[in-house]
């Protein structure tokens, strides 16, 4: 199931990335190469295998529901590329329709 340039464009959109035409071609080739390699997993019958998502035995971790100090507003805004006194500043979200 070869990946096409259109697939790459679709995935890029989902990932919030954009590429030049040349990069798209390169990615299409490389993704196909890697996915073909990954397809070897299909040789294994896993119908009776439970997926593993956590490698050590852990049960839910609870702690008392006590309020602790977190980041102050000033600290939280410290690394913002654009901000006002109290908020992160981003391009206008609500358009004029």
């Amino acid at each position: 199931m070869p990946v096409t340039i259109e697939d790459v464009e679709h995935i890029a959109k989902l990932a919030r990335l954009e590429f030049s035409e040349e990069e798209k071609e390169k990615f299409t080739h490389q993704l196909n190469q890697i996915l073909t390699y990954m397809a070897q997993l299909n040789k294994i019958d896993t119908s009776a295998v439970e997926p593993l998502s956590h490698v050590i035995e852990l049960s839910n971790v609870f702690r008392p529901d006590v309020v602790k100090p977190g980041l102050t507003q000033e600290k939280a805004l410290k690394n913002a590329p654009a901000k006002t006194e109290k908020f992160f500043k981003v391009p206008k979200v609500i358009g004029e329709r």
């Binding site: 995935i11 990335l17 954009e18 996915l35 997993l41 490698v55 050590i56 690394n79 590329p81």
Partner: protein, 480 residues
């Protein structure tokens, strides 16, 4: 390390410690020596930030504590930190343009534990961007060079941390290991690198790459030094709910160069075609030494080994694509200039901020998680991950640890694999399984090849089996 980088600051904790107690030196003087080595080795590009002032200040505090007899267990140790781990008020770039102006708001748990133990933090080390790579060529701030031969790579992704120790710029360093990023550079640079059991060391303050794989561990010149650092950084942390509430043993205390009666497995799948012959021969010599030391050596099989790389790259790219979704240019990190709407701001910031390998992995991860492919790739990968883990659990009923090569080759030339991602991925063939299974592994030096490049030997253990792999590593370090 021959010539230039085998300098006076190439010291173990034991030698520092005895000089300190004999009054021959001070922590400040030791720190000065390391700072000079860092300055002298600038061309290697191992450091992204050097904390000259705060390191010296910290050293003076340690000296006062030494005089007062209140110094911590790592007094006299100077440690470098991979730039994916937070040190308060300092930059944490992850080797990426997207975080180049970001400053940590807090110390990672490992860093606060090191400080409490009176280690001096000398600076932050260079790395593959977001720890994605096996050669430290993927840094936005230039590649790291192997001290022995600067046309070669030091391995990756913790290449800067490995070089810092190998070139005498720190007593020890911290790296992160998601698929071999501590063990493989330790092998390439000829030092000790330890990847602990998943959950053994808190990940709080480690910038996430693949959360179910990421571990933090030490590099050092000796097994004992690595054990000492592990002892300090290991243990439960309420800030990381995946950290394990398993008691931390006195790792360094139990090392006595004695291995009689230990059962060591040699997994045949790790010695098949693709392994460099000189590496095979070097390992066989060490395995003979184990036998001579009274070890019961036994061939074992891990049949799912051949699927490790495919499984690994499906799962880590999936986790990475989710973890890296946070870099959107809104709250922190790089934001592209002159963008129209919000969507364009996200897309341009990410496209300009991330390097090619990171984008490739985000793309792969997004693909394997996308509608229609989730079951075929991601779910399948999780199932095979269980089979790989079961391989290890079964084998560890028969043996106490496994001995394997760390890498199929010694340090390769810069530029050799950078345009062939699959070839680069295949260089992790012996290391990714430990992360898939969550088990600990250590790489120790195992001689040199004909070109004089270091060979690494890997010892894998059971979950929380660090004492056993350290014991065997400590024996092999001086045997023969």
């Amino acid at each position: 390390m021959d010539g230039k980088y085998r300098c006076t600051s190439m010291r173990t904790f034991d030698s520092i410690s005895s000089d300190l107690s004999a009054g021959k030196t001070s922590c400040e003087q030791i720190t000065q020596e390391y700072l000079r080595a860092v300055e002298g080795g600038k061309e290697l590009n191992a450091f992204l930030a050097v904390f000259r002032e705060s390191a010296l200040e910290q050293a003076q505090t340690v000296d006062r504590r030494l005089t007062a007899g209140t110094a911590g267990p790592l007094a006299g140790t100077v440690v470098a930190i991979k730039d994916v781990i937070c040190v308060r008020d300092e930059a944490v770039t992850c080797g990426s343009k997207i975080l180049q102006d970001f400053r940590s708001l807090y110390d990672a748990t490992v860093v606060s534990r090191l400080k409490q133990a009176d280690a001096v933090i000398i600076g932050k080390t260079n790395m593959d961007e977001f720890a994605m790579g096996s050669s430290t060529e993927n840094s936005a701030f230039g590649r790291v060079k192997l001290p022995l031969d600067q046309s070669r790579v030091p391995g990756g992704s913790s290449g800067g941390s490995a070089v810092a120790v190998a070139a005498g710029m720190a007593t020890a360093s911290l790296g992160s290991d998601t698929g071999g990023s501590i063990r493989q550079p330790a092998a390439f640079t000829g030092i000790v690198g330890l990847k602990p059991t998943y959950g053994r060391v808190s990940r709080y303050g480690l910038v996430a790459f693949a959360s179910s794989f990421d571990t933090i561990g030490p590099f050092a010149l000796t097994v004992k030094d690595a054990a000492r650092v592990l002892h300090v950084i290991a243990g439960y942390d309420e800030r990381d709910s995946t950290s394990a509430a398993v008691p931390v043993p006195e790792y360094a205390g139990s090392l006595d160069k004695e291995v009689r009666g230990v059962r060591v497995g040699i997994p045949r799948e790790y010695f098949e075609e693709g392994l460099n012959e000189e590496i095979r021969a070097a390992l066989e010599r060490k395995i003979d030494l184990l036998r001579a030391g009274g070890v019961e050596v036994k061939e074992v099989s891990l049949p799912y080994t051949e699927y490790a790389i495919a499984t690994y790259y499906i799962l880590v790219t999936a986790e990475a694509s989710s973890n890296l979704a946070r870099y959107d240019g809104a709250r922190y990190g790089y934001r592209a200039r002159r963008t129209g709407d919000l969507l364009e701001m996200y897309t341009k910031s990410r496209s300009e901020g991330f390097g090619p390998e990171v984008k490739r992995r985000i793309m792969l991860g997004t693909y394997v998680l996308s509608a229609g492919y989730y079951d075929a790739y991601y779910r399948k990968g999780q199932k095979v991950r269980r089979l790989i883990q079961e391989d290890f659990i079964r084998v560890f009923q028969e043996v106490d640890c496994l001995v394997t090569p760390t890498s199929p080759t010694t340090a390769f030339k810069a530029g050799e694999k950078v345009d062939d991602p699959l070839q680069m991925y295949l260089s992790d063939i012996y290391t990714t399984s430990a992360n898939l299974a969550g088990i600990p592994g250590i790489s120790i030096p195992c001689g040199r090849d004909r070109q004089g490049l270091p060979i690494g030997l890997q010892i894998l253990g059971k979950h929380f089996g660090e004492p056993m792999i350290l014991r065997v590593a400590d024996f092999l370090e001086t045997a023969g």
